[in-house]
Amino acid sequence: MIPTSWYLFLGTALFTVGVIGVLTRRNVIVILMSIELILNAVNINLVAFSNYLQSVDGQVFAIFVITDAAAEAAVGLGLIIALFRNKETVNADEIDLLKW
């Protein structure tokens, strides 16, 4: 039986990778993907716990997380398309009209 903590470490690692992606990549789409990574990390935690606790709540939660991921992806990508229409770019550091 694999200790739950290992899953936690895995989740944390994935989470970290996602965060790094968010902070470093210029391409908004990739940033969005990194966020998906974070959500997956969360799911790993949830499932690990639900497995440990012998209760499906965690899995249900995970399902909702996935739902949310889908919704966010849809809206986000829509926004990105609009952005691309407006500015011909998808680079995060080129959208700086609004500052100070």
Binding site: S5, I20, T24, R25, V30, M33, L37, N40, I63, A82
Partner: protein, 172 residues
Amino acid sequence: MNLQYIAFFTLAAAALISAVMVITRRNPVHSVMWLIVTLFSVGGIFLTQRAEFLFAVQIILYVGGIMVLFLFVVMLVNIDVAVKQAEFSRQWPLALVTVGVLTAELGYGFYVAVHKGLNLPEVTAAAATASPGNTELVAQSLYQTYALPVEIASILLLVAMVGAVLMAKKQL
């Protein structure tokens, strides 16, 4: 039963490596591909934890749905430009350091936690004994315990739909 261990380690390694690939590929398309790998391996991890239904959802909804969407969009915005441009934002070293520290802190926290034992709550006897197929359990709790979230989720998806259309449609 070291089969479990082997499975875990292979899947974990795959997930992590592919994740790193996702955020390091210059070409967004490649990133998408690697992300799919990640999702698969995470799905695998679900499977090793007797979350078959979730595994199915992961594959069908995530890989089959969201990723395709991503792929479309990546194709829509011209990649060749993106490929030529600088890949990382100017703050990347700073970011790496910060995240490094954060990870260290988190890692230390978990290490301490594990060291002292997570002392997670006791497994409820009911849950332990009764274990019909995972899917039924999920279905039951979804439509009994979590009926309300399901309702709200429907609104969520509706909003997402409307929003996506609103944003992406050429003119209304």
